[in-house]
Symmetry: D3
Subunit: 318 residues, 6 copies
């Protein structure tokens, strides 16, 4: 009898007891083991999981260390730079150790997984190795900044390039992620490149090799595949794809895995907007690829490819 009264209260306050019961059932179903196909082994063993939030923080700290004042705390001055850099670096080292540990734990099969402490030790060694690359990363990124500044008529200062150019953010994430790839850190580099992708629309696979003084203008819609190799002083515009060639499928209809399948771009190449360069072809030094062009064969050094003039457009006068 009291139960009936209770239902009335519940309806009045917007809480429907049937909903409560249904909710409990859903929770139970969602928490049952058989429904959890993607829970990874390391999660099951209680080891750290890669955390989107932590990886975001890793990028924030790295950018603050490399370009102090431009990213992170804007109170940084020459006087306090040492203090900020010290604390940022320590925090970055710790977060990296933890996330690399998480990445290392995720792949391994349960039976032959190394001990927790051994994995942590390995992770901290990789994190320390990364830390020692930071000055070189700053040098490389400063070269990218200068190349962007000199190459863009709209850039009014080097500072504007660092503050405002999505290309710089994407290259920054790429150079960080690529360093971690070289240190054989799993998954974390991919999370870092995806962060840049979400932020800028520029999708560079962390395994791609990018030369010095790389410039991206506008950026949105750029895709650079995992096995691409890009030379020095290359400049690309929005919508450019350095992709795998279409239609190369195996006998099961799936793309062939693990092969070099993306282009090799020489030095001093310019690729204009929405051009697609596909397959393991070579674009020679000093080549220029015009906008909206679809390239699937080698281009010689110094060659210029441009779209033929409007031969596929109808003009309808009224």
């Amino acid at each position: 009898m009291r139960k009936i009264k209770l239902a009335n209260f519940a309806v009045m306050s917007g809480l429907n007891p049937d909903h409560e019961a249904a909710l409990r059932e859903v929770v139970t179903e969602l928490s049952a083991g058989e429904n959890l196909v993607n829970i990874c082994p390391s999660q099951w063993r209680g080891e750290p999981l890669p955390s989107q939030q932590a990886v975001k923080e890793i990028i924030t700290l790295s950018r603050a260390i490399i370009f102090p004042g431009f990213f992170g705390d804007s109170d940084v001055t020459r006087e306090n730079l040492l203090y900020f850099t010290g604390l940022w670096s320590e925090k970055l080292y710790k977060l990296l150790t933890e996330q690399i540990h998480a990445g290392l734990s995720m792949d391994v099969c349960t039976e032959d997984a190394p001990e927790f402490a051994a994995t942590e030790r390995l992770a901290s060694t990789k994190a320390a190795a990364f830390m020692s690359c930071l000055p070189e990363l700053r040098r490389l990124l400063n070269a990218d900044v200068r190349a962007t500044y000199y190459g863009d008529p709209a850039a009014s200062s080097v500072q504007e390039v660092i503050y405002c150019y999505p290309g710089i953010r994407a290259i920054c994430n790429h150079r960080i992620a690529h360093e971690l790839v070289k240190l054989e850190v799993p998954i974390i580099p991919r999370m870092i490149s995806e962060l840049a992708h979400g932020e800028t629309g520029i999708d560079i696979h962390p395994a791609a090799t990018i030369g010095e003084s790389f410039t991206i203008d506008h950026g949105t819609g750029i895709v650079i595949g995992a096995t691409a190799i890009v030379g020095n002083n290359v400049k690309i515009y929005q919508g450019v794809t350095l992709g795998a060639k279409s239609f190369d499928l195996d006998k099961d209809g799936n793309p062939v895995k693990g092969e070099p399948r993306h282009p090799i771009i020489g030095n001093n190449v310019i690729i204009y907007s929405n051009a697609s360069i596909l397959g393991r072809i070579t674009i020679g030094d000093n080549a220029v690829i015009g906008g909206n062009i679809w390239v699937t064969e080698n281009v010689a050094a110094g060659e210029r490819l441009i779209q033929a003039k409007a031969n596929n457009v109808l003009r309808i006068k009224h």
Copy 2:
């Protein structure tokens, strides 16, 4: 006389009294009724407004429930999964009730608006109905994850796909938003799809119908219109548009509203990057649409469309 002194103080401290006065005037003008043409009726009656922040939280919670550990709190383990799922689910139910209420309130004309409590009751019923779909949503999304993993040579694990693929985030939001469309929830589904658009550059209208095992690679620049229908095992690349055909305008020069105007894509279709498929045409099962192609007529089952080789490109040797 004191007034003059005051002005001096103000200048010293960077506060200009003329600015203060101008500021007050602007505030008055901005708050005046006649200047508020878009303030909606429900806002005027004091009912809840849709909140961008709340909708963002709804997505965060949904993703955490469906892929525990990958999104949301990374401390989740098998042991505490029940507790996390319980609290997340309750919070999601409450937020959904509130935001659905807000959505329902927004459209109705003032005069015949239903009572506050009735709308809230309706909202909570729709929210509860959504909650009961969560296990099915997880099943569907796991199928999308698997399809993506098997279809991409660069994907090294199922976990990497969940953590890093923007396609999964966009489909996740779409499947959630589409469920709410089916429950006739106004505006909230559109806010959810726009969140994914902002995050990934993938713009799927929540009313679009998407089959099982859907794969998106790279993603940026994809547009799928409201009346599009997509079959099972379809894979699309960056820059693909499933759009309305251009130039179909009514006598006032505006696009015709409410008609089926986007394509129907069959099962097992692959659409490569930057292809545009426009109008209420049908792409048959197992068809393949090559990159950079503009399709406005039906494609038969099994047909392959590819760009003719470089017939519109000039090669300029130096």
Copy 3:
């Protein structure tokens, strides 16, 4: 001897003393003056630096003031609108003063830099001038909203357009940034437009001139250059570029700077998805540019350009 024991502790707790030492060295190197080529002079003098976070807050406040309830705090009602508008406006004025000050400080060469207080006074005057434009900005943006609503068959209400259309966010940021360009505020406008770019994939240079009732559909991948001029009632779709013409380089191989180099678009023009309009050409009133088209020459008033039918596509039946 104790040193050896200490090392053991360190290893146990995951803290490697070698890492500590390496970390300290990296910190020292990163903080050394010679490594800081891009640190700007104002940073060195202790003046405020432009802050990404502050500029983000400036946009959040501006949007909340212009579209109360849709952006910012969703508790706003007609009753409390005056209070919210008052506090938001004061906060916006202060943040603007500070960030404009930072922008003004950044460019100037050390030797002839004006005094701190004079720069702050100038900044506050510019901020006040901006504040007085807010009612006009609301009027303009409401016109953009209405044009979008009437132009899109999928838009179910004016409110949906404000809440969900990335085009509105991008135009909103653009109109704010452009006002600051007119007030000769350096760098901050560019940071504002880049925020919209990151959020929507729409990249409008703040110096571009955009007419009334401007409509953007879907949006991702749009680029509008610094010297572009766009008329009234123009509508553009995703992937459209209003860019500089390719290949116009100076004798050093760099793009020519500072010249009008982007198109002039007339009134009532529609430009469909992925069209590229390049160079200082003129698109006449009422012209229509079809999707995927590459335009580098003038288009007359009323002319319609469409892609020739599939003349470059091969159909392969199986």
Copy 4:
């Protein structure tokens, strides 16, 4: 067999599986119904519970409204006072409605509890009645501030008294809580007085009646009982108790409930530190009670009680 390996992992990472199991058991026991004797009926029905955090916020807002700039946001100026006061007041009204609702719900027996909406309506009426008292509360508290300033040789300004005197905080909470007692709000007033007690060591029961221009010096250790009545211009020092007389127990050995049992203090009375005034006695107008004195009988108007000189102290010279 795999189980054994798992245990090893767990030990390595500091996670003991036995602890996990024990933890789960404790959680189950703590969540079982029979262990929850104090869970209140309203909690069971899903109505709001009084929240320590919300009551703290109520006090913060009330203080900010009454003494703008001294408590709450220190950015308040004459110019923006209207805006701040408007938003603070609206927020206070809402929080009060919610917490009064919670208080009203807590006591009632399940069977005859009024409907949710009716209780909410009653709560909002009480909240509105409280809001209308705020100007009078400010007047009263300003009188307390002035009395404190004129009565303390160490007070250097009226502003110092508001910022720094715990007595003002305690009286402020008391006058707020007492107003709610007069509006027959259960439990919330007691939570408010306890907040002041924790903050200042001054424990004034919200039902106590306190006259105008009340002064507390130093404050810690003051106790004023529920049925005490204090006249105008009264001043008390640290450690003073206006308490119930000891030893008045009923036949079960418990204190007699509900009777007037605390003293009546006349106008212009001063009570020095650590004096205890106990039982329903009357201290006449203009009386002075010396420090460390124990008073259990009436004191006539104008009388002065002081401790006899050191008659109970031994002086031991070495």
Copy 5:
């Protein structure tokens, strides 16, 4: 020369270069090793330090688990209690492990310190042992609540006692801290009791032994020493001291350490406000100690001590 100009800038912007230099010097001095006499060995080895914030969180979680809804999140209901309790308990266990580890590390001398992992294991075992006491702690504290409710004429409900009585908070902290003392956890118990002291003015040493159904009224100024033993059903009022006897000093003039030096209080004893009971004396069962009394000798069971009537007060009529 530039240096002089720089100084001018600095003065303008409120940054005095002399201050900067002085600041750097102070920082260097404060960070030098010889100035850091209290840095503890574990801090030096990089082990966790006890954290005031973490200990505060431990208390918040414990209170939320024991009195759900009254402390911590007020959204707890019967339905979600299991979920909340699960997550709170897990978090409490982890925080306790970490802080107990920190406590254990702090005392030990560097040379013979156990390994990091061994200490962590020991800490987690102690934390688990504490967790298993939680149901018993709830039982004890519920008895304290009931005793307080029945003993205070001003208490209107059991719920009011939990929400509002500082005595309950102090006893709650004490029972938690005492449990940790029994588990031989160093320093953390003392931090817990000091938190209650700061919050309530009630200072109970965690080593003190307190019986069941203990009642504290008003509370401020209560001191209970480390070797005190208190029986069941004891009630004490504000300002009561169960302290060490004065003047018992050793030959160096310091108090004698480590001896039982605080009183033993029997069952059913009442001690009124500001009474001081000093030294290792015994107060027999059912005794009553009146207010403001100084007791340094045994009191027999059932005895009542009261202050002689006003024999040391002068009444001065005017």
Copy 6:
């Protein structure tokens, strides 16, 4: 007519239009100038106001700098101490400059107020002077810590004293506040001492002079007046008052202001709990004052005052 409908909506949603109207009236009244008697002149001129939150942060930073690891961030180690100290010190210097500026602005009469920039310059000079005292403050406080450790049988380590003894927090705030008094900073020192009072129940006026190696045990209820002078190696217990003598009133009935009116305490004095020492008397070196004693006349060097044995207590046997 629409108005009536509106009222119905409002009641349904718990928003009573009468409440709204009343609320607006209250807001208007509370914001009117005539109701704002305590708004201070500096607030009116837009200068910074003292902020409770900022002063709290000043104490947090000072404690963290003086006792690194014990207060503030517990991640501090010997390795990163320089970085933490650097950032804390810079932040402290800025906050102090701002709050001292606020304090200096508050007192001055409008007409002859110095310029904003001059006051800021003065404030920064005082802040810099304070910063240079920090090493000496650490030395003094370490002496207090050692004295407390050696004087308390319950203190198990020097670290426990720093972490857990309210006396140390109170003395720490006092020594900071007293330094600011010596620098003639208005109001801020008083806010600092009141923070300690609220946190510990120990009320030391910032103008009081306290010698080295000062010990406070338990602390709650201690009052030390503005003109008190305390020698070296003094120890006091809970409830001790070093106050002004009662009854010294001027002809208007107010306490006489500005005179030395609190006691002078010699070196090596011990004062036991709840003793009150009142008026400008002198307690000679090495004197001992027993608990609960009321002292209003000089005590010679080496003298011991104790309460006569229980001559005012009645023992009632049952």
